[in-house]
Symmetry: C2
Subunit: 258 residues, 2 copies
Amino acid sequence: MATGRSHTERTRGIPEATVARLPLYLRALTGLSERSVPTVSSEELAAAAGVNSAKLRKDLSYLGSYGTRGVGYDVEYLVYQISRELGLTQDWPVVIVGLGNLGAALANYGGFASRGFRVAALMDADPKLTGKMIAGQAVRHVDELESVVRENGVSIGVIATPAGAAQEVTDRLVDAGVTSILNFAPTVLTVPEGVDVRKVDLSIELQILAFHEQRKAGDGLPPDAEPPASGPGISGAMVRRRPSSAPKSDREPGVQPA
Amino acid sequence: MATGRSHTERTRGIPEATVARLPLYLRALTGLSERSVPTVSSEELAAAAGVNSAKLRKDLSYLGSYGTRGVGYDVEYLVYQISRELGLTQDWPVVIVGLGNLGAALANYGGFASRGFRVAALMDADPKLTGKMIAGQAVRHVDELESVVRENGVSIGVIATPAGAAQEVTDRLVDAGVTSILNFAPTVLTVPEGVDVRKVDLSIELQILAFHEQRKAGDGLPPDAEPPASGPGISGAMVRRRPSSAPKSDREPGVQPA
DNA sequence: AGGCCTTTGTGAACGTGTGCACAAAGGCGA
DNA sequence: TCGCCTTTGTGCACACGTTCACAAAGGCCT
Ligand SMILES: NC(=O)c1ccc[n+]([C@@H]2O[C@H](COP(=O)([O-])OP(=O)(O)OC[C@H]3O[C@@H](n4cnc5c(N)ncnc54)[C@H](O)[C@@H]3O)[C@@H](O)[C@H]2O)c1
Ligand SMILES: NC(=O)c1ccc[n+]([C@@H]2O[C@H](COP(=O)([O-])OP(=O)(O)OC[C@H]3O[C@@H](n4cnc5c(N)ncnc54)[C@H](O)[C@@H]3O)[C@@H](O)[C@H]2O)c1
């Protein structure tokens, strides 16, 4: 779901898990930089980023040998090196497609521009939205999508349309030349090789939390678990039953009728 | 970042990676169910969920032996089993704290309620927002946080406040009894053992995309890479230089002056 | 009733990620 | 100048996740 590349092809040596943490380090470093802290040890920086220090050191070691033993890392220098590795020393024009509740919130989000991501255009299919000013920018009609992408050299698209429209929007973005997509719609996108898709899915996150929550609050699954197949079922109104014959194993050991 | 549990302690056998995919399968299955498809093969379901079929089968095998060889999986039955495993057969009251752009969008989001997550309360610190109706619900003041959590038995909190307020809100949520937090603020939260935090961070996702984008568009890092330390630098105005003496290795092999 | 053909469930091999623990580096104070 | 003490960078072992490939299961058609 992350890269879309053939998996054996490692990204010039930097592990994906490391790449995903670099922005975290960068944020922590930026904080230190603002407080004019000149150097940090791996221990301190790791604490600020919420990881353990061995992992941090290993991650940084993929970028190069940028620390000084006995001292730590130079904050400014490391900010620069990580920024460069992440491609943040250049400007990335972005289009947001779909300006409903979420799209509008995204457009208004300050942290967007703060890291080299520039909102090049806001696009929606609803003619009533066309021309509306959001975050100091007029919403344009999706018909202009291709020209906007080409003229601005947009390579990153953000999708905040309903799920039903997401694949179509994706196809158009890709045709126009976009090669990275951040998808907020709860749907699986199909893209050609070489196009990266990342998804943000609120509902999935909540479901994962619910799973762990269930574990924490009184272990054991909820009541209606597969009843032990002992003789004919007492109640025919069991919420849902196995479609046909009894299964071989049902996880809970439970006495099987041999 | 996901669980907060000691790592050796596996969650009653279901791997975390599998848990994270179950909601995906559930969504695909729900779609099939709505179209009254009675059974699916692992191949079909995997395609719908965007994973490969071996992975899907292994994932489902952790739940139990719910398929029929030669036929596939009964859609309704599997929907039920996954829902139960994820804890979606019960209702999860949720509070949203911070009703700015993002919080309001979340409150208005339909996909929230659709899976057993009920928005029990909307809370903000801004007195001007108190009483304002959002998504059919009056915003309440954060002062009421503790009582709202206790009265509604809320165990999941969603944080959509500015980063600066997130830790304080977290502490209060946790004190009041919340044990799962979904954090949208770009900051690292510290929580006691037993509390799960998941974060959604737009900015990190974009940075990861930028990284891969940079790789795709003309490989090799941006121009200003550490210049090969050959003699005295030509331009003193190099954007940023190593703080002190030259490093041992700088990743790019590059000729080192012995 | 029997055999065929599809599809599951899983053992085993492999790849990726994590964390420990320590040798070597190197600044800094004496 | 020398040695000490902190902190990096990394080899190694282990845990976790992914994928392959196939035996066994079991419906279904003849
Ligand atoms: N609101 C949230 O908090 C939230 C959270 C998670 C996921 N999502 C998902 O994000 C997406 C947007 O959510 P929302 O609440 O903003 O929905 P919304 O209905 O408020 O907005 C959707 C917007 O997309 C536009 N649109 C529809 N088809 C389009 C097309 N083909 N091209 C361009 N624009 C098009 C609509 O005109 C509308 O303005 C949905 O898929 C939703 O499931 C939303
Ligand atoms: N808008 C986005 O698309 C977006 C995207 C990613 C991340 N974020 C993050 O989500 C958070 C919210 O973003 P936003 O755009 O909605 O900001 P916002 O400023 O519009 O809203 C923040 C809200 O939080 C309230 N608040 C402040 N302190 C509070 C406290 N102690 N208790 C309760 N409420 C408090 C404020 O009154 C305000 O209503 C921020 O941390 C932001 O970085 C936003």
